[in-house]
Amino acid sequence: MPQSAAPALRENRVTAKVLILNGPGLADSGTGITLDELERACADSCADVGLAMEFRHTDDENRLLAWLAGDSAGFDGIIVNPGPSARCAMTSRASYVAAIAGLKTPLIEVHLHNIYKDTNAAADGSRQIGGDIGLVCGFGTSGYRLALQSMARKTARPIVREST
C-alpha cells in the first residue's frame, strides 16, 4: 500500500476549562441577581470567549478553601468570589494564602464591590506570594464577564497538531 509522503495533520483546539467558585453570602448580596442568573450570565460569557466552565457555590468557607486547594489542578483557570462577607482580598487572609500561594493555575479574584474603598483596608498587609493572580473589584456582576474575558486570553491554547 503506498504511503503518503507526509502524514495528514488534523488540528484540534483544546477548550480551556475554568472553575468559577462563589463563597458565603453571595446569594443574599443584594445585587438583585440570583445565583442561577449569575451562573447563566457566566455561561453566556464563557460561550462568547470559547471557554468551558464549572460553576460552584457554597456558604461554607471551609468548603470553598478545600475546593481552591484541592480542585484547582484540574482546571486551566480559576475565578473566585470569596463572597461579600470576605470584605478583603484573599491575598491578605492567611487561610486563603495557604490555598492559593504556589498555584500554577491562573486565578482571578472577583468582588462585586470595591473592597479597597475603606481607608482602613487600603494597607492590607498582604504577602508577597507572587503567581498569576488577578483582581477585579467594583464592577458588580459584570466583573465575572471581565474576568472571563481575561481568563480566555490567559489560557489561550496552542493548536494541538495530530497526525492521522
Binding site: 479597597y116 487600603a122 488577578g134 477585579v136 459584570s142 464577564r145 474575558q149
Partner: protein, 149 residues
C-alpha cells in the same frame, strides 16, 4: 445627537518603558501598542479614548483636574505613585465621573511597599493582574459599568 463617552487613560512613572522593562512581570507590549488597542476598542464601542503617560506626579494631578468637564471616565494606572501619592488621591476625589484603577501586575501579591493604594480609596473599581490586556478589557466594560453606576 448622542454624546460620545470620553475616557481618559492616565499612566504614571516608568510605564513609558513597557515592553523593555521586566517583561516577565509587565509583558512585552509597548505602551504605544496598548494605546492603539485601546483606541481601536474604543472606536468599536463609540468611546473617545485619550491615552496619556507621564513620569511626573504634578502632571498627573493636572490631567486629573483637567478631566473635569472633559471626560466621563478616568482609567488610572498611577504605577508606583499609587503607593505614595495623596495628591493623586485628592485630585481623583474631586472628579465626578467614573474612576477605575488599573494595574498590569497585581501589587497585592508583590513587595510589601506596593500593598498600600492611595488610589483605591478614591475610585469606583479596581482591576489588577490581568496583564496589558486589562486596558482594553476595562474599556470594553465601561458601558455596562456606567449603566449600573
Amino acid at each position: 445627537m448622542r454624546k460620545t463617552t470620553t475616557v481618559h487613560v492616565i499612566n504614571g512613572p516608568n510605564l513609558n518603558l513597557l515592553g523593555t522593562r521586566e517583561p516577565g512581570i509587565y509583558g512585552s507590549d509597548t505602551l504605544d501598542e496598548i494605546a492603539t488597542r485601546c483606541s481601536t476598542a474604543g472606536e468599536r464601542l463609540g468611546l473617545h479614548v485619550t491615552f496619556l503617560q507621564s513620569n511626573h506626579e504634578g502632571q498627573i494631578v493636572d490631567w486629573i483636574q483637567q478631566a473635569t468637564g472633559r471626560a466621563d471616565v478616568i482609567i488610572i494606572n498611577a504605577a508606583a505613585l499609587t503607593h505614595t501619592s495623596i495628591a493623586i488621591h485628592d485630585a481623583l476625589r474631586n472628579f465626578d465621573g467614573l474612576k477605575i484603577e488599573l494595574h498590569i501586575s497585581n501589587p497585592h501579591v508583590r513587595e510589601w511597599f506596593r500593598h498600600v493604594s492611595y488610589v483605591s480609596t478614591a475610585v469606583d473599581a479596581v482591576v489588577a493582574g490581568l496583564g496589558p490586556d486589562g486596558y482594553e478589557l476595562v474599556i470594553g466594560s465601561i458601558h455596562e459599568l456606567m449603566a449600573s453606576a
